[in-house]
């Protein structure tokens, strides 16, 4: 039997019995075979001592059952780690931060509680996946769109609480959250925002309620277990139109980003896009690598011209009435025309609803609000998975050029070729860079990856860039970089943690916040 740290086997057995009484025997998992399914399939510490394998998993099917589990956990000081759909691959999967935690698996709580077609929102339980939600809406032909992230098997609750992102105009997922129901570490049920008013008629329509706004402290957090979440949806747009802006010189990136920022902040471009360059952001290419080694951009620009490959390209997605999106693309072209030599290419466009035949031809439906797993076909064949290093950068070409140089240098200094970065516009007024590292079932290679990853965290912080989210393995490292004024933010979090969760039972170590009794040991 695996046992949580600091808990006697007698207490653990009693706790398991109480869990069984709460949820039914089949929903408490303790065999190695069952618990192995809670390992992180993309773990960068696979089969190493620090791999956070849980001691049990318990799967409730209702708020009262969650409360009963929390009360038992308090009684025996059992660490719980909450997951909704547990598909947090790249950032920890369904595995906890602390080895020996009990995973609280909310997958069975998978009811769509309400969809409102007039005010465009949903009220969901945590186990509802993007696939489930799409299916539910689709079967009933409801007049709303959802915004899925790339893999559709995760959940609005898990993804939004991690502050993930998608592609349609609702792409900032936590920004779309409106009203939570939370089981607190005491076992009490609390509702945030307007939900604090008994019989509230606007729980999912107005976020802030009255007084200090606490909904955000339950994101990337260990302060509560979210059992219901409101999320805003999108009225289906009439049309989607896309077009690509292509520029040919290295420094064209600077006006390219600047004009994009103005269009995005003006609400003209509302979907997520990504800045691309085969010279800087693509997978390794020996020919380009040797051109780059010259240290000058001229050979690359010549190559771009010779081969007619745009140095930078930026696909733009437009969502809205057909006449409006056409006008927006025209306007964007006018704006980008100030960059000498810029060229444009019209991309796919669609009118909604899509016919079955048209839909069947679209490989990537995610930007059209239809969840899929298409993204996995873009990963290198034979890959075992990856982890993402995800710093937030200013929305500027200068910052992006600097970051590419810094990350490239770190990669090559540590013998890892050059960085293949993805640059997304998922959040307003900032860029998020995703540097993907392959994970393997190979201890030595994973150690090397962790070394590079940790160097990048430090280098990024030294440049004023911090990560938006990270794999459980690096939560402490990243929390250490958010150190303004002698780590006052972390000390503030710890003060709240100790007050709200005195026994430290919920998600110990999440985002570098440890309960009092583990703080020194884990620092």
């Amino acid at each position: 039997m695996r046992i949580p740290p600091g808990v006697s086997s007698k207490d653990f057995s009693s706790a398991l019995q109480e869990f069984e009484a709460a949820v039914g025997k089949p929903w408490v998992f303790t065999s190695d075979e069952d618990l192995d399914l809670y390992r992180d399939s993309y773990s960068p510490v696979w089969n190493e001592d620090e791999e956070p394998i849980p001691s049990a998993a318990v799967a409730p099917d209702g708020v009262e059952q969650v409360q009963a589990i929390v009360r038992t956990a308090n009684k025996y000081k059992i660490p719980l780690w909450t997951i909704s759909t547990g598909k947090n691959l790249g950032y920890g999967g369904s595995a906890p931060r602390l080895r020996g935690s009990v995973v609280l698996d909310l997958k069975r709580m998978n009811r769509v509680l309400e969809i409102n077609e007039k005010n465009h929102y949903a009220l969901l339980e945590p186990g509802v996946s993007y696939f489930d939600l799409y299916q539910y809406i689709h079967e009933r032909q409801l007049n709303v769109w959802i915004d899925p992230p790339d893999p559709g098997w995760g959940s609005p609750v898990g993804n939004s609480l991690e502050r993930g992102g998608g592609y349609t105009p609702m792409h900032d997922h936590f920004d779309a959250v409106c009203g939570l129901e939370v089981v607190l570490p005491s076992g009490e049920v609390m509702r945030t925002g307007m939900g604090a008013l008994p019989g509230a008629k606007t729980w999912q329509q107005y976020k802030y309620g009255f007084g200090p706004h606490v909904t955000p402290i339950f994101s990337q957090s260990s302060l509560g277990i979210v059992t219901k979440m409101g999320i805003w949806l999108l009225p289906p747009p009439e049309a989607y139109l896309s077009g690509t802006v292509m520029v040919w010189k290295h420094h064209d990136l600077i006006p390219l980003v600047e004009i994009f920022a103005e269009l995005q902040d003006s609400g003209i471009i509302r979907g997520t896009t990504s800045f691309a360059s085969p010279f800087w952001l693509g997978p390794p290419n020996p020919e380009l690598d040797s051109l780059r080694a010259s240290g000058s951009v001229k050979p690359l620009e010549d190559y771009a011209e010779r081969k007619k490959i745009p140095y930078w390209s930026l696909p733009l997605p437009f969502y809205g009435p057909a006449k409006v999106v056409a006008a927006q693309w025209e306007y964007a072209k006018e704006k980008f025309s100030s960059i000498p030599g810029v060229t444009f290419q019209d991309g796919p466009s669609h009118r909604f609803p899509l016919g079955a035949e048209e839909l069947a031809k679209i490989p990537d439906t995610v930007p059209l609000g239809i969840p899929s797993l298409h993204i996995f076909s873009l990963l290198p064949p034979g890959s075992q998975g990856h982890i993402g290093f995800s710093p937030i950068l200013p929305m500027s070409g200068e910052a992006l050029l600097e970051a590419m140089t810094v990350f490239d240098r770190v990669h090559s200094e540590l013998g890892a070729g050059r960085a293949a970065l993805v640059v997304l516009t998922s959040f307003p007024r900032a860029l998020v860079i995703i540097d993907l590292f392959p994970v393997e079932r190979n201890v030595e290679r994973n150690r090397k990856t962790r070394e590079i990853y940790r160097r990048l965290i430090k280098e990024a912080a030294a440049h004023g860039w911090g990560e938006y989210r990270t794999h459980t393995t690096f939560m402490g490292d990243i929390s250490n970089t958010y150190s303004f004024n002698n780590h006052v933010l972390r000390r503030f979090h710890e003060t709240i943690k100790d007050a709200v969760d005195p026994n430290g039972i919920l998600s110990p170590g999440k985002c570098g916040i440890w309960p009092k009794h583990l703080r020194e040991e884990k620092a």
């Binding site: 799967a59 696939f131 490989p363 075992q384």
Partner: protein
């Protein structure tokens, strides 16, 4: 992660492969399109398969599992699991509970043992009787 960098270089190739595959196989819409084949009267294994497996192993474009198997078998065996006649229930269960490559293993709260039995029975329904 809409990897445009990766897209330009690799994806175009993959999209072409996907289109070739789609042209080869008779095209039916995926489980998530308006024309989803009705689950009514279908065996449980079919229903569970549509729910958990078809987004990756279904027919049509953009299905990574089908693409990966097409690449692996190069026409020697069907890339679509539903068309295979050589799978055993045991092998289906091993892949679902152990994962392979980027396909993670599935927990019992996602696919229960009973659902998995049904999926395994569905995928072996066309095997020749010994």
């Amino acid at each position: 992660m809409k990897t445009m960098g990766i897209r330009l270089a690799v994806v175009l190739g993959l999209i072409l492969a996907a289109q070739a595959l789609a042209a080869q196989e008779q095209r039916v819409p995926s489980a998530w399109t308006p024309a989803t084949p009705s689950a009514q009267g279908q065996p449980r294994g079919y229903v569970e398969y549509q729910k958990f497996c078809s987004q990756c192993h279904g027919q049509g474009v953009g299905k990574p599992g089908t693409l990966a198997l097409a690449d692996k078998y190069k026409g020697e065996k069907p890339a679509l699991l539903e068309k295979r006649t050589d799978l055993t229930p045991e092998i289906v269960k091993i892949f679902v509970r152990n994962g392979i490559s980027v396909m993670p293993f599935f927990r019992k709260t996602e696919i229960s043992d009973a659902d998995l039995d049904a999926i395994a029975a569905y995928l072996t329904r066309n095997n020749k009787k010994p």
